[in-house]
């Protein structure tokens, strides 16, 4: 199916007449949307929407893939996508850790080291290969009008909500407190240790490479990694917390559940005063929700500009069912793991949280399984 998507994307690019009027209208709509968000929720929300547009545009412009980056390395030993991820994390970390060490008003992505983290990250790593999209991937591909990811997203929202709802029971399996490497080693120590670890992984990937340019050719993906790092630091500076995706989707689910009459006031997660306040307030007040909306809009604009909007997808009924089910699994497991590839892997490591590294190891192991599962389901390419 993915091969079909790629072929269709190429055809779409060839067919594209790059209608400048429509693209200008999309840019205008994005500006109007940012102004509307500012009017409805304040300048901070408007800025976060604009940052989200930047995330979506950078991701969609080069098809920046966390999922694909790992899969292509697992299958082809092409490290390009994987190396771009490490560059993104390293660059963001170089600005984020000194900020966190000196500015108490900013918060990192520190989460407990729990059994649920390992289980959730492993399952998420496998599921993201089946769905061909992680947290950011599912969102930006939905923005690009990929029907497969449009099918994944509702399940992702439901799964994120339910995962957070049940999180206390999963934490009862065993949990240690969050570990901030910035607190444990100091800003300099955390930076040196983590940058050395990223460099060691990059060197290993480069030494064991068998092919390059299988998927990403040229420097575009590295330029996108730099742009994403800049937007991620801006996100921290404006929101006061790191970039995340899954929490926002779960909040959308919590709002829908509340409208349907589900009383969440006694729930261990959604019953917390902060979460009850967010359920009662407009979702535009939630930084993660606002950047998610901006991300969808940015991906739409980038896809329209590149002529890759709405790729044609050929999938069997089983594969469509798999998309919906996998969406639920992705959302649920991401909440057990305290984030997806963005909230845990990227934000965790770049803010010096030990849980980010555990997520990385468990999700990568899950991805190795997921790539095989993907082949068995006939989702090759």
């Amino acid at each position: 199916m993915a091969a079909g998507v790629a072929a269709a994307s190429a055809a779409a690019t060839a067919r594209s007449s790059r209608r400048p009027g429509r693209i200008a209208a999309l840019y205008l709509l994005a500006i109007v949307a940012a102004l509307a968000v500012t009017f409805a929720a304040g300048l901070r929300a408007g800025l976060l929407f604009a940052i989200g547009v930047g995330f979506g545009a950078a991701l969609a412009a080069v098809s920046f893939g966390f999922t694909t980056g790992w899969r292509i390395w697992i299958r082809e030993r092409d490290p390009t996508g994987f190396l771009a991820q490490l560059l993104l994390i390293g660059l963001a970390m170089a600005a984020t850790i000194p900020l966190l060490a000196t500015r108490p008003e900013l918060a990192g992505a520190y989460a407990p080291l729990s059994v649920s983290l390992v289980l959730g990250a492993f399952v998420f790593g496998a599921a993201m290969q089946v769905a061909d999209g992680c947290g950011s991937g599912s969102l930006y591909k939905a923005g690009m009008g990929n029907p497969f990811n449009l099918a994944v997203l509702p399940g992702f929202i439901a799964g994120s909500f339910l995962g957070a709802t049940h999180l206390d029971r999963w934490l009862a399996l065993g949990s240690l407190p969050p570990v901030s490497l910035v607190d444990a080693l100091g800003a300099g120590g955390a930076l040196i240790v983590q940058l050395a670890a990223l460099a060691a992984i990059a060197a290993l990937l480069w030494r064991t490479r068998r092919a390059t340019g299988v998927r990403w050719k040229g420097k575009g993906i590295y330029v996108a990694a730099i742009a994403l790092a800049v937007f991620a630091v801006l996100n921290l500076v404006v929101a006061g917390q790191p970039w995340g995706i899954v929490y926002g989707l779960g909040l959308w689910g919590a709002k829908i559940a509340t409208w349907a009459g589900w009383d969440l006031t006694a729930n261990a997660f959604w019953g917390r005063p902060e979460q009850q306040a967010q359920i009662a307030a407009p979702l535009l007040d939630d930084p993660t929700s606002v950047t998610n909306l901006g991300l969808l809009a940015g991906a739409l604009i980038a896809a329209a500009q590149r002529g890759t909007f709405a790729p044609q997808v050929h999938a069997t009924a089983t594969q469509w069912v798999a998309a919906v089910v996998t969406g639920v699994v992705l959302g649920y497991s991401a909440r057990l793991a305290f984030g997806c590839n963005i909230g845990a892997y990227f934000a965790g490591i770049s803010t010096g949280s030990a849980h980010g590294w555990i997520w990385f190891g468990a999700a990568f192991a899950g991805s190795v399984v997921g790539v095989r599962l993907r082949d068995k389901l006939g989702l090759k390419g």
Binding site: A40, R103, A239, G271, A280, F338
Partner: protein, 58 residues
């Protein structure tokens, strides 16, 4: 782009924007432009209202 795919995408955006609008209408709190937080968190007190993927239950 086929009509069917276009219809699905239009439905997705209509549902999303409808959800945001409905949420805004149903919300029990309203944005007060004279009491909104500073444009960015850096250099200001934390607003303390947020949630993140790394948030754990009480």
């Amino acid at each position: 782009m086929s009509m069917r795919r276009g219809a699905w995408i239009a439905l997705f955006w209509a549902l999303l924007l409808g959800f945001v609008a409905l949420d805004y209408v149903k919300s029990r709190t309203r944005h007060d432009p004279f009491a909104e937080p500073p444009p960015w968190a850096l250099g200001h007190a934390a607003s303390g209202r947020g949630g993140h993927c790394s948030s754990a239950p009480r």
